[in-house]
């Protein structure tokens, strides 16, 4: 079984702080990390490989710097790493992204299973997984929190819903987006780190995946950013003073007035 894990390099929000005065982002010391949800997708891919055999390909679309993250993926158990990178991809929305990833997966001769994190923490759209499944013509399930087993060429799994969960049987080839509950990602082993150092990260550009330039990047994206602005400041903060008892009764009165 060939498993492709889609990984995105994102700015680490842990180090991002909002300047309360200007309400702008202070990105001092912000590093790029593997999208946290994608780490769980990678771990699930490696676990399925260990249980059922096969290979795990870590795939990323992003700037050349994403190579670092792909080496980390190899250290965590991926067998191969592929970076799809081209200036022509800049400004891609989820439609152009799923096109690019689809062409990349076809360029590496397809696969049986694609695993994605449920969403990336920078865009938060959760649209790439389902869109990619559609383009690949794969069955898919979102918000997967447990893969029970693979039987008769189908995955038995549990998907999280807003009001409970669904038990599903998903025919292969398939795509899953996973939530963090699905597993506890491993830390890279020393052997894995050694392997990652030596590993070759395959680079594919727009020409190598046979992409139609009209479908790429900003030009190929149906959604356009009209404007970007800072969220409104909450300038009306009230600190409640007095004894604990007074604070509690003020709070009770506020809650009463809000209901």
């Amino acid at each position: 079984m060939k498993i492709v894990c889609c990984l995105k390099q994102v700015p680490d929000a842990k180090n991002v702080r909002l300047d309360p005065k200007t309400n702008t982002l202070s990105r001092e010391g912000v590093q790029s990390i593997m999208n946290p949800y994608d780490r769980h997708a990678l771990e699930e891919g490696v676990r399925l490989k260990e249980k059922y055999g096969g290979t795990v390909v870590a795939l990323s679309m992003g700037p050349p710097q994403a190579e670092e993250m792909l080496r980390e993926a190899i250290a965590c158990g991926a067998d191969e790493a592929v970076l799809v990178s081209d200036r022509a991809f800049a400004g891609s929305d989820t439609w152009a992204t799923t096109y690019t990833l689809t062409m990349a997966i076809k360029a590496i001769d397809g696969c049986d299973l694609v695993l994605c994190g449920k969403q990336a923490i920078d865009g938060d759209t959760a649209q790439v997984g389902p869109g990619l499944a559609h383009r690949l013509d794969f069955a898919y399930a979102s918000y997967v929190r447990k893969v029970h087993s693979i039987q008769d060429n189908a995955l038995l799994l549990q998907r999280m819903m807003d009001d409970g969960y669904d038990e599903l049987k998903v025919a292969l080839p398939a795509l899953l987006t996973v939530v963090k509950e699905i597993n506890e990602p491993r830390v890279p082993s020393l052997k894995g780190k050694m392997r990652a150092k030596k590993a070759e990260v395959r680079r594919l550009d727009a020409a190598a995946i046979g992409a139609d330039p009209a479908c790429l990047g900003l030009a190929g994206s149906p959604t356009k950013v009209f404007k970007v602005f800072a969220p409104e400041l909450r300038g009306d903060r009230t600190m409640l003073a007095g004894t604990v008892h007074e604070q509690a009764s003020q709070l009770a009165a506020i809650l009463h007035s809000l209901q």
């Binding site: 800049a90 938060d124 389902p130 898919y140 807003d162 409970g164 994206s221 959604t223 800072a230």
Partner: protein
């Protein structure tokens, strides 16, 4: 491509400071862009000397824009009930439809739909497209997406809205991809621009910036909308509308995914995204027992219980309760955070709440930066007193 006019650039560094992606650096007094640029446009808006521009290759419409008219909402129906967001979508959809002078339609898929179509009409729909089939009894991405895609191709609505719920966020992207339509996730504001295009505003980069998105060249314009943000239109039993029952082709109901069971679970049904009041606890609760206080307050207020990642990781409460970057995003009327310091990862999940009440021992905790009301104090003293006061109020 981001174009930088070296003549105009004064090397002030504002663009470098505000770029969330670290894509601009001032080198020798002039801004330089690198490969990390996502063309988000923040720098263009913030450049006071107008030295930056995004060179959007002229694309032009790929479809006949004039052929598309009307506003549609997907009316989510599950386990025998309409999702509250369906009525909220009708509320905002009605406003948009009236401004554009077009009709508002709802798409209702499921099994055993009874009088749901009448409810949708009473809340603002002019037409309800209804498909009733055992194959649609449980939510299943493929048939849901196929049927909606077919209906859109046939009737050509200009705007299609769905709830940003587990269901909407799972199958709507498949529909949009199939149609080659632009889709904006998790919108918190919708408006109509001067040119008639739908202005779709959503939090980006974890809520630190807001982005307004347009889809000028493709149709329909599609968006998922965050629950609890829009106001539902009031029920009006005198409204009339048309119910169109459809019988889709058998193969469009088929799926490569079989739903073996669909389980309602109290443990999972924390209903965080649809609760009006959320009471959240964090590291300051010290242990599992601390959550008894949180639960008591939530029950008293008819609200839901949430937690920061620290409390979930400590095993004090289950993951379905987690709010923040790796948990859920909520936008209730009131969010009460107890013993939560306010790390950015938590703030991004709740900062859209209408009123935020923070109780924390540390007067410098960042949670107070986003709070509407703040109490500096020991939650183990404040909460029991608050619970007593609320009880007295009720009595």
């Amino acid at each position: 491509m981001l174009k930088i006019d070296a003549e105009k650039c004064i090397g002030c560094g504002v663009c470098e400071a505000q770029c969330a992606f670290g894509a601009i650096e001032v080198v020798a007094g002039v801004a330089v862009v690198n490969d990390k640029c996502t063309l988000c446009g923040t720098c263009v808006d913030n450049c006071e000397v107008g030295a930056l521009a995004i060179d959007a290759a002229a694309q032009g419409a790929t479809v006949d824009l004039a052929a598309y008219a009307g506003v549609w909402v997907f009316a989510e129906y599950r386990h025998g009930a309409l999702a509250p967001v369906a009525l909220e979508l009708l509320g905002v959809g009605r406003k948009i439809a009236d401004r554009k002078g077009v009709s508002l339609s709802a798409v209702l898929l499921g099994d055993g739909l009874a009088n749901q179509a009448a409810t949708l009409i009473a809340h603002g729909a002019d037409t309800v497209y209804q498909v009733e089939s055992p194959a649609l009894g449980n939510f299943n991405d493929e048939p849901y997406a196929n049927i909606l895609e077919d209906l859109i191709r046939e009737h050509k609505p200009e705007i299609v809205l769905a709830g940003a719920t587990a269901i909407g966020r799972s199958f709507i992207p498949k529909v949009a991809t199939a149609l080659g339509a632009g889709l904006t996730a998790d919108c918190t504001d919708l408006d109509v621009g001067e040119d008639g295009n739908l202005l779709q505003t959503r939090p980006a980069f974890g809520g630190n910036i807001m982005a307004t998105i347009v889809c000028p060249d493709t149709r329909p314009q599609m968006a998922t909308v965050r629950p609890l943000v829009m106001k539902a239109a009031a029920w009006d039993g005198s409204r009339t509308g048309r119910v169109v029952e459809l019988d889709p082709k058998h193969q469009r109901l088929a799926s490569r995914v079989e739903v073996l069971s669909s389980v309602l679970s109290d443990q999972d049904r924390v209903n965080l995204s649809e609760a009006n009041i959320v009471v959240a606890g964090g590291r300051g609760l010290d242990n599992e027992k601390g959550f008894a206080l949180i639960r008591e307050l939530a029950d008293l207020l008819g609200g839901a219980v949430a937690a920061s990642r620290a409390a979930v990781d400590a095993g004090w409460i289950g993951y379905p309760h987690q709010v923040g970057q790796t948990g859920k995003t909520v936008a209730p009327k009131v969010y009460i955070c107890c013993g939560i310091s306010g790390a950015i990862q938590h703030l991004v999940g709740m900062r859209s709440a209408e009123t935020i009440i923070a109780i924390n021992k540390d007067p410098n905790a960042p949670i107070f930066d986003v709070a509407t009301y703040g109490v500096v104090g020991d939650l183990f003293e404040v909460l029991p007193k608050l619970i007593d006061s609320l009880r007295a109020q009720k009595a």
